[in-house]
Symmetry: C2
Subunit: 469 residues, 2 copies
Amino acid sequence: MADVHLPTTTPLRVIHVGADLFADALAAQNVTVTRVAWQPAAGANDDALSLLLNDVRVEDANQQAVQRMIGARPRLVDVRPAREVIPGMHRHLLLHAGPPITWERMSGPLRGAIIGALIYEGLATDQESAERLVTSGEIAFAPCHHYHAVGPMAGVISASMPVQIIEEPIYGNQTFSTLNEGLGRVLRYGANNAEVINRLRWMEQVLGPALARAIRAMGGIEIKAMTAQALQMGDECHNRNKAATSLLLRQIAPALVETGNSNQETARVLRFINSNDHFYLNLSMAACKAAAVAAHGIPFSSVVTTMARNGTDFGIRVSGLGENWYVGPAQRVHGLYFSGFSEQDANPDIGDSTISETVGIGAFVMAAAPAIVQFIGGTPADALRYTLEMYDITVAEDTQYQLPQLNFRGAPVGVDVRQVVRQNLLPIINTGIAHRLPGIGQVGAGIVRPPMISFVSAVQALGIELQKA
Amino acid sequence: MADVHLPTTTPLRVIHVGADLFADALAAQNVTVTRVAWQPAAGANDDALSLLLNDVRVEDANQQAVQRMIGARPRLVDVRPAREVIPGMHRHLLLHAGPPITWERMSGPLRGAIIGALIYEGLATDQESAERLVTSGEIAFAPCHHYHAVGPMAGVISASMPVQIIEEPIYGNQTFSTLNEGLGRVLRYGANNAEVINRLRWMEQVLGPALARAIRAMGGIEIKAMTAQALQMGDECHNRNKAATSLLLRQIAPALVETGNSNQETARVLRFINSNDHFYLNLSMAACKAAAVAAHGIPFSSVVTTMARNGTDFGIRVSGLGENWYVGPAQRVHGLYFSGFSEQDANPDIGDSTISETVGIGAFVMAAAPAIVQFIGGTPADALRYTLEMYDITVAEDTQYQLPQLNFRGAPVGVDVRQVVRQNLLPIINTGIAHRLPGIGQVGAGIVRPPMISFVSAVQALGIELQKA
């Protein structure tokens, strides 16, 4: 569906700013390249970048994109098996987090999750047979994002997994995410033992249908309003979802009771949600994805509509740049490690959960979640500073996401790749840290910035688009 | 059980600081009074007040009192009818908020609640017969505080009402509060129509027993840890209890399901709690009362262990000053009014909910709850300033109540009457505002300070105690 290369179907003329290797690569493909002397943070005075920055078509497109992002009203309407609701999903297709990647380049936790998913689907019986199946070429891989889906960490979605369905009625799209498995040894961190597989089966057979009955009985649940409340309750809805999970549980509990198969089963469902302060994360991600989809495809817009990592690569997509990914290396996360682990154990940055920051929550609103620093490191002053920085690289403020700590200022929303490059100021992301080996799980949490090269590439590509038009 | 006068059973010698009317009153009772020239805020250099301020007996006693206040571990263990569990409770006794008061001096909302409670108990059929019963002298009134109980606003507790039972195992006391009725027309704001009475009966017959079964099945619930979490989730647990109510519901929901009589009943109980973000308030108040009781009765301690208002008078009690109330006029609340109401509709300050501030939460930790200013007025900067001020008049910081906004500094706890007078800095309180007429309900919410005279009287009384010893 998409491609990691720059568009090459029509002859290109390129205004080149930034690292030479891109200009070199383009020149090698016989593309005319105008090389502009430029360095990050000194670029404001550069004529070529100024041209991009002041193009009224970009400004107008960005306003349109961000108003759609802000205006989206995602609604949880159902929970169903992925194969029944995700268009194109089938038994031999596995979706994963981040930009496209081959098995050979996948990191440990993603491989572990792939193996687990194949065992869970009954396509393999153990690690060896799973790896054999993968190398035989019978299994297709694709980014969740290519199917309007998102998954945290490894982000693996297979056909039988129950997915939450978000409907966005204003701009008319559907998005999907798996249900959050909880903490400890879980598939999304690459664990795949019997405990993990049994839990996935219980989620498929009990949790998913129970939630589906309750949600349908309620006629759906508005997600943006719930997130907005949680932002006034110390969550930033990426790595702190305690309030949002609580709000979801209290809202859904009566319907769970009324539509439950038995008290024993309903109590177990309630305990499962109550035991996991991140239960809301996946739901929030699917809602964020709906807002991002609404904002995507506005010609000339330089607003980022995807940021995602597969544990090896980090990639972005931009509203005005079609389905192309602008990819760089997944970065090292700086943070706090659980007892017994250190940076040497850490996998590089992984997961689709950066869809949070893409639509202005998560690390972008850490000012609203000062208690999160006990989990990811730093101080409440850092959290405040991160949010204030993000106003400099975003297009608008989302007044529905009011931050009490900033006197109810709206969240900074809509990352503009031009501003990221011009100011040499990268989006801030907070994230869990996976062990680099499959099967071990989360080893910490912290702060990471994406690779600048993704944004420079996108700026270059936007320059091409503008010249073409 | 207690008395609003200064102790007069033994001859007194008084060091008098503050308003002359006290010295005059004492002189009129043939008490020897040493008058000291003094004015609030200029008092720090005053020899007599300095003597009180530097008395090592007071310092030691205050440390002991506040360590008990901080060390208390209140635990919700049951819900039972008041008459079965509150020692001395009987059918013709009504407990109310604040210091002692006669029917003649009661404000509108307190009268309305008294009438409602008599109808609810089947002792009267309407307002007229209720008032006749009261004026006949057959009904006894007493402060909730005299029975280790607390009630918000009018705070009326009658024999049949289900009360939450807090057990404090370390210092060994039991405290009580009613269940929160929700918003709108409710008894605690003086409403007493059929809707109010029917709801009270449902709470007695369904809600109370359902909660009791769940809480007993869970073996009780730790309250201080839950409040501590809520303080990191934007609550201050007096006028913002949204997070705490959510945490309570999610923790208790599985047990409610497992011990419920029917799904229909359980769902209604869950909806009742979910519909009322203040459900946690009464529970928190009983837990605060347990901490205050633990800190009470330390000889020479100048730490406040009760602040309460009956809608006419405001009263405090002090750890080292026995059961005496130090009373002044209930003050006007400054805040935001609901549509259609103004200050002219407001009753003066009312309710036992100031037990929150007494043990260091509520308005004392408004820094942690910036979103509350949308309900009570002011700005997040005001909320921060209120908390910072309170460190100046309190004895210690409660490190279990960590405030993220102040870099996890502990809550200011243990109001010292000496510091209040010396610095002319009154405790800050946030509160709902009741209509001055019975039956109408809440008309707004805001900020209020208690009358200085209560603290000056307590300082005087402490001076007497020190001289006696």
